[in-house]
Each structure stands twice: as C-alpha cells, then as structure tokens.
Symmetry: C2
C-alpha cells in the first residue's frame, strides 16, 4: 500500500487551509495580489508590513503553490508575484471575509457609504453587494469577475500609503 | 463631528477580518465551536493546542463579541463557550475555507472518499458538495443548516484525540 503523502499533520480540510491562511500577514499579502500589486515594493507598501516578513511569507506561499514568481526585469533581476490557479481560487475565501466584515466590523458612525469596498460585476456592471452570484445577471462570482471601488475613507488610507 | 470609533487601524474590511481570523489557533478553536464542542477541555482536545493559548484566544474572541461564555456548572464554576450571532456568521468563511481545501489541499493518493468532511443539508438530507446553495432544494447554506460527516481517515484522527 502506498504511503500517504504527509501534506500536513491533519486530515481536516479546515486545518489544512488554516495552516497557511491562519496568518494576518498572508491574508494582507493575498489582498495586494488580488488588487494586482505584483511587485515586491507594492506588496510591502500596500500591506504596511516589513520586507523580511513579506519575503518570508511569499516564499511560503510559493512552496504551497499559491503564488509564483516571474522575472519582469533582467538588469537588475526583479521578480513579480502572481497568483496560481490554486491561489486565484482563494478569492472565494477573501470575498466572504470581506462580506463578514462589511456586516459586522464597522461601528454605525464609521459608515459613510454602503460598503467600505464596493464590488462591481465586470460582466454586467451591477453592484454585487455581498452576494455570491451576481444579483443582476446570476453569474457565480469568482476571481477576476469583480472590480473593487474603495470608499472615500479607504481610498484616503491607501493613498496615504501610496498604495492605491 | 463625532470622533470615528477606532475599531482597528485599517478601514479595509479584509484587514479587519484578518486582524482576528488571521491566526491558526483562532480558526481551529472556531472549528470546535462549530462542531458544538463548547467546553474548554473539549476545545483544547479537539484543537490539540495548549490550554494557555486556547484561553488567551477565547478571551480575545469574547472581546470581539464573536464568542460568549456561559456557566454550565456552579460548583465548581465552569463555563462553556458559544458563538454569538456575529460568530455564527463566520460559518460562511470557514465553509469556503473547507471547500478550497477539498479541491486543493489533498494529494490524489490521500483521497478515500469524495470529501474529507461531507456536509449534508439538514433541511432535505442532500449532500451539498461544496455549493453555497443546497443543490437539491436551493436553500442558502449557513450556520446550523448542515451536518458534518467525517471521512474514515478524519474520524480516526479525531478519535485518537478523543475529540469526536
């Protein structure tokens, strides 16, 4: 009988996801990658994390086959980071994390728009709210199907980090 | 103008969720609470984490109003931990974390059943697969609507921890 590959010390699917996604820095780095910030400096600026931490986490994400590194410049050699198909599928998780926060993580007096991040469906333009399927055309939302529009407060915050 | 409540140092919804959910121990503790393991000892056994870590994270989750503590015994005084409505809504996140892992986190030779954790819809009995709406009756799946059936490998693992 073939030996069972030991991908993790647990057989629990949630435990396996938690193993690499149960880390604040990882979630923030993935956010930047979903926002198309592929270069190291942009990821560091957007997350506000130190370069050593970002570098270590990107390496770990490469090992998990969630991120791949590709050169974008030869002299000096510079790499950009891209989500693999396995990484792109994490969209579903990050999207519901955002949905939960939109409902629960803001005090009433903080709210100046319907959402801190509004998502528009690229296919038909509808505001998808916090739905999994586009409320206008019914398409299942996934990686690359929505465009983020930041609230004024969040846009100011990212501008202050020069990370819009 | 009223001062803005500083719930977090970021206005980003994903950042706010990441602030407490970007932690492996927190995700495992929440898993146990979704599995109805409400007592401290059961949570500790099921997660395999040390009691000090579990205690610190439960306290943090209470502060975030995700978990509430209620006495279940007076002499000696003992508490059980329960998800608040805000905590119950985290089901959506943990469910898609499981869905992602079912698709991506297992080597082919590890798989001995369709899913490491099969979810049956309590309403109609259907295997919901990794769908957000029940594929048989269409109900939107959420906290309390599904029953977990562990694969033999995962059931053995939990039995070894005396945490089934």
């Amino acid at each position: 009988m073939p030996a069972r590959t030991k991908l993790s010390d647990t057989f629990c699917p949630l435990g396996r996801t938690a193993e690499f996604l149960g880390d604040r820095a990882v979630i923030l780095i993935l956010r930047e990658l979903f926002f198309k910030s592929a270069r190291f400096d942009a990821i560091t600026r957007g997350t506000g994390l130190g370069p050593q931490l970002v570098s270590a986490r990107l390496k770990m994400l490469e090992q998990h086959d969630v991120v791949e590194r590709r050169p974008y410049q030869q002299r000096p050699l510079r790499y950009a980071y891209h989500l693999t198909p396995k990484g792109q599928d994490l969209f579903d998780i990050l999207y519901v994390m955002r949905n939960w926060a939109e409902k629960w993580a803001y005090a009433p007096q903080e709210v100046e728009a319907d959402y801190a991040v509004q998502y528009l469906h690229r296919g038909c333009g509808a505001d998808v709210g916090t739905e999994i399927h586009c409320p206008q055309c019914g398409e299942r939302l996934g990686f690359g199907t929505v465009k983020a529009v930041l609230s004024p407060a969040l846009a100011r915050e990212r501008l202050a980090k020069q990370a819009v």
